[in-house]
Symmetry: C2
Subunit: 399 residues, 2 copies
């Protein structure tokens, strides 16, 4: 019998407890031994839960209990998740986490500690809910030359953008609908400003390059500025707007960003709608592959957590993984793309003069698609226009 402890008894924590209990025999067959939830750490009491009698309030009980093999950290937030993880790893316990915030901020330290103590630190559930993403990236793709990892990593924004696209709703109304259905939190900033997606792409970038980039150093745009008319314009040219997190790799050096992109049929990510997530990996000689599925929800996330727990407890090894902290996520100003820009119609002449090789795609506004330009070049032109009081209503890159 292998004893485990769950830190945090919220949606994910109770989903994990349910799955471990419901499929107990099947999981024991995989692991070779039965798993036993010995403690659940939470501030609250759960008198009505079948797991209520396992709830304790003191982390020290867990970390001092030598019979605990694996600790499942599904609390969220940086603290005390950071302290608890560090302490558990130092005491020779495997740690499994669904907490993208701590992985993105402290993954380097945790992986080092795990190696020093000959235990595992695993975090499949931190990106893409139940979709197997981390494990394939760690174990089955790293012999390729990585060109890019990119994905739709935030279900909330994808749900909102899908509503705007299919129902013609405004951003505000689509956000309200997402909140009513529980797909967006009351304070949706981390999602709609792109911060959640930024944390996740930082984790994927670290896996494929070994470099752990500060989340706040990467170019991060959310979806709050996207207008109904942008969505319609995209549709009229056979595209959809999605919040895409990208890690472009050149000779091992990553350029990482989160921003809305207009995707075409040529991108398999285009068809990931609603609360679905998708990650595309492009490398040589493999070509491109995509993993797709629901990015959130108790069941999907619990499945990913339990897959890590099974791997830890069955002592299945994995290829060595280590992160090194670096200062920044590449030079975004060198990033080149075609960009859709919209301006008020009265500025058409000046805009077409500034972007003389752009194609005008809409008459009512002055909407253009530029040629392939670096961020530095496009910024220069927009600055010059800005000095004349001409500012774009929209600016969305094509992919």
């Amino acid at each position: 019998m292998i004893n485990i402890a769950i830190l945090g008894f919220g949606v994910v924590g109770s989903g994990v407890a349910d799955l471990l209990s419901k499929n107990k025999k099947q999981i024991a067959d995989l692991v070779g031994e039965e798993l036993n939830i010995k403690y659940i750490l939470d501030l609250r009491e759960f008198p009505d839960s079948p797991f209520g009698h396992l709830v304790i309030h003191d982390f020290d009980t867990i970390v001092n209990d030598e019979s605990i093999d694996t600790v499942i950290e599904v609390m969220g937030g940086s603290h005390p998740a950071y302290e608890f993880t560090k302490s558990a790893l130092s005491r020779g316990k495997n740690v499994v986490s669904s907490n993208k915030e701590v992985v993105a901020n402290f993954g380097d330290e945790f992986l080092r500690l795990a190696k020093e103590n000959s235990v595992s630190y695993r975090f499949e559930a931190s990106v893409g809910g139940g979709i197997p993403i981390i494990d394939p990236l760690v174990s089955t793709l790293r012999h390729n030359d990585t060109q890019e990892v990119r994905g739709i990593l935030n279900g909330t924004t994808n749900y909102i953008l899908t509503k705007m696209f299919t129902l013609g709703e405004s951003f505000e109304n689509a956000l309200k609908a997402a909140q009513e259905r529980g797909y967006a939190e009351r304070n949706p900033d981390a999602d709609i400003l792109g911060i959640d997606a930024a944390r996740k792409i930082v984790i994927l970038a670290a896996i494929v390059t070994g470099k752990l980039i500060p989340v706040d150093s990467i170019h991060t745009e959310g979806i709050t500025g996207i207008r109904d008319s942008d969505i319609k314009l995209a549709e009229s040219i056979g595209r959809k707007i999605k919040l895409v997190a990208r890690c472009i790799v050149n000779d091992g050096a990553p350029t990482v960003m989160v921003a809305p992109f207009m995707l075409s049929e040529a991108s398999p990510l285009m068809h990931a709608d609603g609360v679905y997530n998708a990650v595309e990996y492009i490398g040589s000689p493999l070509g491109n592959i995509m993993m797709y599925g629901k990015g959130a929800g108790a069941g999907a996330t619990a499945s990913a957590v339990v897959s890590d727990v099974v791997s830890c407890c069955a002592k299945v090894g994995s290829l060595s993984l280590g992160f090194t902290k670096v200062k920044e996520g590449g030079n975004f100003l060198d990033f080149a793309s075609q960009t859709y820009l919209a301006f008020a119609p009265e500025h058409a002449d000046e805009v077409m003069l500034a972007f003389d090789d752009a194609v005008r795609v809409r008459a009512e506004e002055c909407a253009v698609i530029t040629s392939l330009m670096t961020e530095a070049d496009i910024e220069k032109k927009l600055c010059a226009l800005g000095e004349k009081g001409i500012v774009p209503l929209s600016r969305i890159r094509l992919l």
Copy 2:
């Protein structure tokens, strides 16, 4: 240094040699030791290849060489691949295979032999080219209650169906185009009759249920009977025809089949076009996920082979896997679906009488979509019509 041998120096074999050589350092970092191709077994000589000096013609040299750690079997066909694999595993060597035919026919025996000799038998490249499919199914999903694994597993037929859909080509012309581009063999029977897809779904079914089903026992339909007008009908109701291999699981018991299905937007498989493959896994509590990518080609297949080689050589373990041979792949007659049927227009009255709750979807022919019916029930009605000389021009199930 770890010595390996490659059996078969065709497209895949030389792709593997190229990748191992080109990314030698990167692979050594993952494994922790350098990999060395010591022998390549082939009947031919390759005087112009940079690997030509490694080519030998006698398998015994390899199996008797105690320094050989891992054997890569990329010969294809059942014999002598079967004998070589058995011999290598018995002599304590890991075996990595891209050969779906031997895995589907003898996987049970190979996995048993590998366990007895404390080595690995791995076959990621046997299904879905470079897409990580086998490893996620083996390692990260089996704690779920599997409801279904289904996929577009054959690139040749998917290329042909995509051509028919996008260009309105006939089956014969689309096949010719596929042959000209090297996507179909001169004798395309194994692909277009569904046999290749059947082998692959038998492998996936064995992973999720433990039961290895004889390939020739499962219901297998190819795409040779699909008419241009069927493709157009599908398009008119917002669907696409794809050759889908399915393993439906009820209480651990699989029902396995390969047949053309009309897919709707609700299925993520619908967007896998051209030579792309895709596998969808549906289980509880996970929900559905999909893995997508190129299903063939030297680079993609070599990537999958090398991922297995890296796992073997790095002594990364995996969850225990064993297959048990069973007699058949479930009772197809109990399988229920809505079905599109087309008849000559003069039979409309009799057809509508026989299928009285079917919906007529095309006027020129008598094309109907039935209600949800089991194969047994639909067969009964078609037999009765057959006795009157009324036979369907097309019969394609909906998904």
